[in-house]
Amino acid sequence: MIEQNNNNFEPRIIAFVCNWCTYAGADLAGTSRIKYASNVDIVRFPCTGRIDFMLLLKAFAKGADGIIVSGCHPNDCHYTSGNFHARRRWMVFRDMLNFLGIDVERIRWSWVSAAEGAKWADVVNKTVHKIREMGPYTEYKKAAMFLEKEKISYE
């Protein structure tokens, strides 16, 4: 049974989080000594409204297997409406990605407040677990690397 498990695959997760809630929540998870999967690389943003959709695509192109996007709960935004604007953008973006056949299941959206250190650990663990089952995301990377293979090097 052990041989059947893909033991070599460790998912690489990039988390785009807002400074005021989720980053503080992740900080709380750390100071509370909550253990969670170490596969996640956190990128801190001033607000979820600042998380450009191109950043998610860039993460996939550069080799992320999964993405977490997280910020303040609705009505808790430090800038009043950043997360509401972001939420609308994601609704459109998700539909678009799905129509183009890009795997939206690999992007986990969440609201994690500064007090929810345990929730943050849970979000990361669940995402890592899910991506580990789904396997590496190669389609997007392959398309990104297409020209690399074609490149001619002039000595």
């Binding site: 191109m54 695509l57 860039k58 539909d95 678009m96 129509f99 183009l100 056949g101 969440s110 297409f146």
Partner: protein, 261 residues
């Protein structure tokens, strides 16, 4: 002379309007014409084949100077003018917006409310072939969809005709022309072709009037019109009918989403 030509010639003779943009017969399809003299106006035509979205010229400084300009456009020209006006891109007093009714008479719009009224009651039916193609893609599995779009869009030569034809793509510096940071590779490559279309669609989301000129302009006849159409349908599902075209610059506290948890 047709009623359109007569009316246009009269407007130019009056002198308040310096140029009229309309349609003339081309080799195969009607094409845009810029009438500077009453004689030019003889060439003006209007029929179902007049598809070009003439509003694309209204934001071009080299065409629109300080003179007042008349436009005899189709339904989508009127709809685009409303959108451009709401985005503060044009002054309506620089333009005389006109369209042609079924009887061949010119309808002149005096103000934005008249245009809105016209647009609300004259929406043409959606193209059934486009709807059928969208339905077909929707039924595919995710892997098939990815394969389909990758194959289709890898043919793209990045001529940016879709951008040039779109009256709402008016940025002075397009995201694909910016290289600091370089979001997109500006040359043709499988992934950046897809990413370019994603960017184009996202920047159009909620603003697109659905004229289909991006798809018509594509020299490779790629199905990029499906993307804008599908995005329009999704937005209609999520946020309701096109009203003032600012879906992503506004929000509702009660927006219903089902994927954030």
């Amino acid at each position: 002379m047709s009623k359109i030509s007569e009316k246009a010639a009269a407007l130019l003779q009056e002198g308040a309007i310096k140029m009229i943009i309309g349609y003339e017969q081309g080799t195969e399809h009607p094409r845009p014409i810029f009438c500077h003299t009453p004689e030019d106006c003889k060439k003006l035509i209007f029929n179902d084949q007049c598809k070009n979205n003439l509003a694309v010229y209204l934001t071009k400084k080299e065409i629109v100077d300080n003179d007042k300009i008349g436009v005899i456009g189709n339904f989508y020209v009127v709809k685009t003018v409303i959108q451009l006006f709401l985005e503060n891109q044009i002054h309506l007093d620089h333009f005389l917006i006109m369209t042609v009714d079924e009887a061949g008479d010119i309808i002149t719009f005096g103000n934005i409310d008249e245009m809105k009224q016209y647009v609300a009651s004259h929406e043409p039916p959606a193209n059934p072939t486009v709807l059928a193609a969208i339905e077909k893609i929707d039924k595919m599995s995710r892997e098939e969809r990815w394969a389909y779009w990758k194959t289709e869009l890898s043919k793209c030569i990045r001529c940016y005709a879709c951008r040039a034809a779109c009256p709402l793509c008016y940025c002075n510096r397009c995201i694909t022309d910016v290289n600091c940071p370089q979001w997109l590779e500006p040359w043709s490559a499988p992934l950046s072709n897809i990413e370019w279309q994603i960017n184009r669609i996202m920047h159009m989301s909620g603003r697109c009037v659905g004229c289909g000129e991006c798809a018509a302009a594509c020299p490779l006849e790629l199905p990029i019109g499906l993307l804008t159409k599908k995005m329009g349908m999704d937005i209609k599902d999520s946020f309701g009918e096109w009203k003032d075209g600012n879906v992503l610059s506004t929000y509702k506290v009660g927006d219903k989403e089902n994927f954030i948890h």
